[in-house]
Symmetry: C4
């Protein structure tokens, strides 16, 4: 029943005539992108090291195989990995396709729990929209950026969870501090992660995000309209997605 | 009969021996690209919101499925969306392909008609050529650009509709004003749209347009000559395209 | 017999033990790339205007369809078009592929012979190597570059034809002059073309050439090793190529 | 038996619970990437010139055809070639793929042994990780970078072979010196290569490496998850790889 309530809520949000258009994207991110990735198969605590590769996450069931190729940065107090999430497309009655769920660059943070040990179970995610990626890739060595997300925006829990991502140049200009703070008034918890990144690591992030930007916007599909990545029927909304976000 | 007149007109334009070569591109844009996109399926007034995605336009019938992945910016007085349109190719008798109709970056503007309500029926479009995209992507934070188009250029209506697109840095250097003005002497109307964009939004536009530039030039096809996107027989000109432009 | 002589000459050049390695590329360009494109189907004088597209050239017979998508700039005295030419690959006995003939960015110039009329029959070409493209794309608004080619280098006609391409910033920094000079001591002719290009046009050239650079190097094939573009058996050298260069 | 010992060693390294995560990448590079490329088919001394293309290396047997498209720079004392190596992917039980062995940009140096003669048998390689590529592509005209690798790190031979790559701007800012030094305490040998590169050559390296960076990270696969390049079953580790590294 809980599930039904949430489905109705989402339906109301997405079809609202009075919908704040400029904020639809945030709802999209908050409800869909975050939730898609937030808990599926990632509830175990501990590290997953295999042949030098750390899996950032596993996706929910998806007929199209996914690729996990995160760029990971491990530092003393916490780690962060950067992963592009492609948009999904809906086939319209005309036979054409439109973007259904927007893509993003997903940042996943998790804390160190000892020397070179990280607790995957305590991770938090932050999904950068195309415009936020625009901010990141245009940062000069002395710039700072800060982004705020409310994953429950537009729901009755609006304002209960506040996430802020901060990217600040280190004073001597040899790198950046990337920090995520998540204040959850429902669970009365606050998580804070700080990962210092070198200039070289930040250049990798910027170069890779610049490459990914047209892809998360869906523009890569213009030249390959029939690619199978993520296209689905528009009427099929996976109710499990709602649960995932709700449970978070 | 009207249709026939226009077909003859277009034929005369496109095959003219005295054609101003440097302006062919403008005619191409004005007659073909603009018209391709201008009215097909977009005559209803109002908003189209679906799962957070606004469709900028629907194309005329096309055997190759199209992808709609506009980058949209909604502001208080108006909205703008940015969409790459790929070139079409013609197969030559030799079996090789050449660009038939050039690609462009299509900017579509439409006005706000209330708080977060936009009137899709009053939209206007402006198709940036490759060289105009070159201007846009090379703009530094203090630059301004202005472009002028005459969609009826080379026809008997030349000069009757004047479009000008202006991109101006905001004095304090934290963004740009993107303005479109359309003066139509035939219908005695003037439309003007102003959309303020942030630096981050402009970076997304520049990065995505830089990515798209080789594609609208057709260079992406060099590595995939047999891609099916938009190739067609050169002799087949859709007469409906002429109607669309004429009616505008 | 003439043909045979030239074939032997080329064989000797290409298999020479004492070959000047750093210059092999020039021979490649001079003998293969230039000649591939120099005369095939382009001997008629006059203009070829079709639906607003000027074909820069037609290739010699090739089982893989080619794409003609030149970026053309028409000015008062001359025109230039920019076209990427992909490398060809040879399948080795191991089943792997290696670059056989390097790619280039081909610049084709042709003179104006009246108001907006150009003489395609008097064209001249200049093939930029990867490193020369590196020079071009790194030019700042006040830089100049000059390149020299000898299409007959390493043959008995070495030094008889000298080509120089010059790219010079216009003093007021609002564009560039691109000039090609071809001095042919065999035919006692000198051709000189000057095309002024705007900053926006030069940005298009730089952006498109930056996009094309990894492709002319063959790096795009790394991700698609089985693409059919231009792979051929290494032992098959088209003798017609030699004729074309010789006749020039 | 030797082979078995080494297999066990590698297994221990790769599955170690106390593994220094931040260094796993180095082990990866040192053990896998270097060794993949180090000796297979490259043990003969001398030059391999074919139609102007020098093969930098041949890979070990691989069901997916590889492409050899190195960017080579030949100078008086030594030569260097730059080659991207894609990551390999492992299909997981879920049907999805994850990066198995990371990609890199491989630099191969070999010395001149006479006028325009190079000794391929004395080559040395250095594999740049994604982050090291980030350093390289962000170098301004006056910057310098230095990288240190230990190909035997984590093995009992740790510290016995030390490689350092240095990229230094030439004082008058018209190029760079790229130097590789390999000190091998086991064989009591020291190899040192210095290749001066021009600004244009360095721009090609930077542009091509920027293009390649998302590919060596595996992000190109996001849009083509089913591409066949390098995917393999995770359990199949080629024991020959171990031999290659051990013998080096």
């Amino acid at each position: 029943m809980m599930k039904l309530t949430r489905s109705l809520l989402l339906s109301r949000i997405l079809s609202s005539e009075k919908l704040l258009v400029g904020k639809v994207h945030d709802v999209q991110e908050a409800l869909c992108l975050h939730s898609l990735l937030s808990r599926a198969g990632m509830s175990t605590t501990g590290q997953r090291f295999g042949a030098g590769v750390i899996h950032c996450f596993f996706s929910v069931e998806n007929p199209v195989p996914r690729i996990f190729a995160p760029y990971s940065i491990y530092k003393g107090k916490a780690a962060v990995c950067v992963d592009p999430i492609l948009p999904t497309f809906t086939k319209m009655d005309s036979g054409h396709f439109r973007v259904d769920r927007k893509g993003c660059i997903l940042l996943t943070f998790w804390p160190a729990i000892g020397e070179r040990k990280y607790d995957w179970g305590k991770k938090q995610v932050f999904a950068l929209s195309a415009t936020e990626v625009g901010s990141l890739i245009s940062m000069s060595p002395k710039d700072s950026s800060e982004f705020f997300h409310d994953p429950s925006m537009k729901s009755s829990n609006a304002g209960q969870v506040r996430k802020s991502l901060s990217i600040k140049a280190v004073p001597d200009a040899n790198g950046y501090f990337i920090s995520l703070s998540v204040v959850n008034n429902l669970s009365k918890t606050t998580d804070r992660f700080v990962v210092p990144v070198t200039t070289a690591e930040f250049v990798v992030m910027k170069t890779a995000c610049s490459y990914a930007l047209p892809h998360i916007m869906g523009w890569h599909r213009l030249t390959n309209p029939q690619l199978g990545d993520g296209a689905k029927k528009s009427s099929k909304i996976d109710p499990q997605l709602l649960d995932l976000e709700w449970d978070k």
